[in-house]
Each structure stands twice: as C-alpha cells, then as structure tokens.
C-alpha cells in the first residue's frame, strides 16, 4: 500500500492538479543563463563550448557544478542557482 498522503483540493479547481512548469522564455535577451556541470567526465568541455556560444551572443552566463553526479544537487547549490539565474542548461550524460 502506498504511503502517499491524500489531500483535498481547497481551491475552485480551475488549475491543473499537477504543478505546471514555468513557461519557456521567448528570448534569452537580458536573461542570465546558468550552466550546471553535474561532474560527469567531459561535461565541462561541452559546457565550455555552450558558454562560448552564449557569450558570443552577449548573453550572461554563470557556471555551477555539483560535487558528484551520483547525488541530487545540495540544497544550497539549488537555491543559489534559483536565485542567480533565469534559465539553466544542464549536461546530463558522458
């Protein structure tokens, strides 16, 4: 049996039950892009090139890396990224 908790919706149910993703920005003009390296091999090479391309277009870039790809990002890293950038590009594979 699932231990999930069931709550009853207190709203007039005009919105979907699932939380929605934020809408994608139509343009990156004026936005800051975060590049998150999850610390898999050569992820940095890939993200270096992405950074070059963004910067060539005049888009601000900030770089982050997780301590290890085996675990979710630490809370303070996730909060820092959320506070500092508008969009994140994450390299997931080798």
């Amino acid at each position: 049996m699932s231990d999930n908790m069931i709550m009853l919706d207190p709203t007039s149910e005009l919105d979907p039950a699932q939380r929605q993703r934020l809408a994608r920005p139509e343009s990156l003009d004026g936005l800051t892009v975060g590049l998150l390296d999850i610390s898999k091999a050569r992820g940095d090479v890939f993200l270096d090139r992405i950074a070059e391309l963004f910067e060539a277009d005049g888009i601000a870039v900030k770089r982050y890396s997780k301590p290890t790809f085996t675990r979710p990002a630490p809370t303070d890293l996730a909060q820092t990224i959320a506070a500092e950038v508008d969009v994140v590009v994450e390299g997931l594979a080798d």
Binding site: L8, P10, S12, E13
Partner: protein, 477 residues
C-alpha cells in the same frame, strides 16, 4: 466480508476482559454445530486455539456492521441481521443461539469494551475508507518523500503561514460540525465567481486550524461576506488596507470559547484566530483572491491574516452590537466590517461621560484624514473600564451615540480637498456641517480586559456606504 446469509458473527478483541470471558462460549457454539464467524479486532490468534478466525484489524467488518462494543454477537437470517447481543448478557446469548445452557458457568452480565472501530480518530478513517462519504473535491496525492506542509506552500494554498494539511479524515471530521450537506452551494465567491460549497469551506477551515464546532460560525462568516451590500469583491481588490473584520455575538461565541476580554484583538485564542483565518483562506483559495493579483492593496494590514473577536456581553450595561442591529438577545451572529488597523485611544483621566466622549470623538476625527468627513466607517471598541464611566452616569449606547453625533459634526469639513481644489465637491450627502461618520457607519462594541483605561478605533474602508461596503450581520444557524 464473509457471506453471512445465515449464521452468526461475533466481534472480539483480546484486549477486552469480557471477550476473554466469552471466548469459551464462542467455542461451545461452534462445537454445537452453529456457523459462527469470528472477527478479531486486535489479534488474529485470538481466541487462542480456535481455527478460522477472521483478521479484522482493518476494522472494515466492524465498521460495516456498526459495531460499537465488543463482544457483540449478531445472528443473520437470509442475509439480514435479526438479533444483536451487545456485551455479555447470558439470557440474550442463550436466546440468540438457542443453546439453553450456554455460558451457564459465567456471570449473568458483563458489559463489554469499546470496539476499536469507534476509537477517537479511527471512526473518521473508517468512514473515509469504507463509508459513503460524499466528498467531491479533487484529490491531490502528495508523495511520501514530499513534505506535506511544503506541498501546501508550493500549491499557493497558504497565506504565508503554515496550514494544517487538508486530509480526507480531517475534512470529514470538520463536516461533522454542521448538518448542512457538503455539496450545498453557500454562495458565489469573488473574484473568480466560483461556487463555494460547504465542503470547500470545511477544507479551508481545516487548513486554518478550526475545530469542527467552529463550522457554524465559519459558515455564517462566509454567508455574511457574500451579502451583496458587503461588497467583498471591491474590498478584496481595493488599494486600501481593509479586509473583513468579524465581530461575533451571542451564545455561540461563548460555546466555542472565543475571547472577548484581555487581548481580544490580539493573538492566542484558537477560535478567534482560526475563524477569521478560515474566511481569508476561502477568499484566497476558492475565490482566487491573492495579493499582487486581484488584491491590489497598497500596504495591507496584519488583520488580513485574521481579524475576528467576540463582544464581551456578560456584565455589559449596554445592548450588544447584535441587539442594536435588530437581532434577539439570545441570537448568535457574525457582523462583518470592512476594516483595517487598530488605533488606540488613551484616556486615563476622564471620569465624566462628556469628557470621555470628547476623547472618543477627537480620535475618531483623526481617522483617514482629520479634515475629511464621511469617508470611512469605524468600530469603536470600548473597554470595561471606559464603559464603567458611562454606566456610572447612566448613559446607554443611544445616549453616547447622541453625544458623539454632536461632537463629530465638522463645520470645517471641506477644508480638504476644497482648499487644494476649489472645484472639487463635498462627498455626496454632505451638508455645510457634515458629520465625520456616515449615518449608521459607527459600530460600538464592548471588549477588552478588566484593567486598562484604553479603547480602540478600528477604521474602515474609505469606500463606505452604498458606493462601497456597509457592515452586515448574519445570524448563525
């Protein structure tokens, strides 16, 4: 559940001494060839040494058969219950089993114990799990790795403070606080103009922290807020500070333990805090009224979390607000006022009613703008030590109102804005000597602790009267 079209069912638990006492009797019934289904509530190996015991630790069978006591013996014929023995009454068990000597070595009578299915907290769970509970709201499943309090925040359901998670069991329990059907539509809630049912009110009352016994007051508050003259939509949308302030009168306030005395306008009393908060959460969640969206308040005020108190009627020499507004002295009512902050009144010197009335009038004149008349309504909250001055002088509320009416005339009203903009007209209905207050716009209530020669003004929305909001009163049903 087993097929019990013909035969017996007995409900037992090991934790019950009477069940232990009758266990051999149940064995004898089986030995006599009677078809007895045994339901064990706490231990499927009880009664010891017997075979074919049904594990009823889920309590489903106890719930479905309305078992309140163990042991209970039922006899079924053609699928219908025809006999019920509650506890151990030897003659009843003998009659029901047709075994004349059954339990002849036992005492004549032993009361049973409570069935586990009626233990506090269990009954609600069983009703939700197995009962026909007509709850219609969408179910939101929260993963076990999610924090339920955070999930409520994430979904935008809170006023900024944590809420009690609205589980089905809690909502079911809250609905027991009213005899009204969950699907009854109480009204149409602005700004989204969504149907507000008793069930949605109960869900938000759970989240606010209400007890089920507060439901009649919460329902009255919602019904009052939806009276057209109260103008909830505009009140929500205004750039002004105000939001609903609730004043409760009558026995219902005392029944649920509302605070009308020390710190009546402050924190610390569950009923005061949560009834007011429930209304605010309903506006937010059912109506969709959220700050930064339709709620355009410039500064807001802390009462937008909750602002609800009772009038101190016991020992008052005055008619209560409710009686003044035409309700019977024993009626319970909720009065809604479009109000904002608390302005203290300091007067420890006046011993004559004329002097104290002058203090009140001066403070009332400063509301909103000292040079402007007939802008906002107000509640004057008079503490017992100030009321005593009027009591000793034999002034009833009408006499105080008469005095205030004279003191609140403002022959100089119009200094603002006409001194700045000569072309601007006086407020509608104003005369050369208008009163600070709109007729009917000053409510007087008695509340507060026994010590303190302080009273208070609760100012109101500057769109008062027919153009905006007028105070409304709803009787609690």
């Amino acid at each position: 559940m087993n097929d019990m079209s013909d035969g017996y069912a007995v409900f037992l638990k090991r934790d019950c001494p009477t069940c232990v006492l009758v266990a051999p009797v149940v064995a004898k019934m089986r030995e006599a060839g009677l078809p007895v289904t045994i339901y064990s509530q706490d231990d499927p190996s009880f009664p010891d040494g017997m075979a074919d015991i049904h594990d009823d630790r889920t309590l489903e069978n106890a719930f479905r058969n309305d078992i309140e006591t163990v042991p209970t013996l039922l006899r079924f014929e053609h699928g219908a219950e025809v006999a019920r023995c509650v506890g151990w009454v030897r003659s009843e068990w003998q009659d029901t089993s047709y075994l004349k000597d059954l339990g002849s070595d036992l005492p004549e009578l032993r009361p049973g114990c409570g069935s586990k299915s009626v233990e506090p907290g269990i009954a609600e769970r069983l009703a939700v799990e197995f009962g026909d509970v007509p709850i219609k709201s969408r179910r939101i499943e929260i993963s076990e790795i999610e924090d339920d309090a955070e999930a409520c925040y994430d979904r935008g359901w809170t006023d900024g403070l944590p809420v009690v998670s609205p589980t089905r069991e809690r909502v079911y329990r809250m609905l027991q606080g009213t005899s009204r059907a969950p699907d009854e539509v109480v009204g149409i809630m602005p700004p989204d103009l969504a149907e507000c049912t008793v069930e949605k009110i109960a869900i938000n009352a759970v989240m606010a922290g209400c007890k089920p016994e507060y439901m009649p007051l919460v329902l009255a508050a919602v019904e009052g807020a939806l009276i057209d003259e109260f103008c909830l939509h505009g009140l929500l949308a205004t750039t002004w500070f105000s939001s609903p302030v609730l004043v409760v009168n009558g026995p219902e306030a005392r029944r649920v333990g509302m605070n009308a005395r020390g710190n009546a306008l402050g924190q610390g009393n569950r009923a005061n805090a949560t009834i007011g908060r429930a209304l605010q959460l309903i506006v937010r969640n059912v109506g969709g009224g959220r700050p930064g969206e339709v709620d355009r308040s410039c500064l807001g005020n802390p009462g937008k979390y909750t602002f609800c108190f009772a009038e101190d009627e016991e020992g008052s020499c005055w008619d209560s607000l409710s009686v003044e507004r035409g309700f019977a002295a024993d009626a319970s009512t909720v009065t809604l006022f479009a109000g904002d902050g608390v302005q203290p009144i300091y007067d420890q010197k006046s011993r004559e009613p004329e002097d104290l009335a002058r203090t009140f009038a001066l403070c009332l004149r400063s509301l909103n703008h000292p040079e402007m008349a007939m802008v906002g309504d107000a509640i004057l909250v008079i503490s017992p030590e100030h009321e005593r001055v009027f009591r000793d002088a034999g002034w009833d509320k009408a006499r105080l109102r008469q005095e205030l009416d004279e003191l609140l005339l403002m022959p100089d009203a119009g200094t603002y804005p006409s001194r700045l903009r000569p072309d601007m007209k006086m407020p509608q209905g104003a005369t050369d000597a208008p009163s600070k207050m709109r007729p009917g716009g000053l409510l007087i209530v008695r509340a507060g602790g026994g010590a303190g020669m302080f009273s208070a003004v609760i100012g109101g929305w500057v769109a008062s009267g027919e153009k905006g909001s007028v105070p409304v009163t709803k009787e609690v049903s």
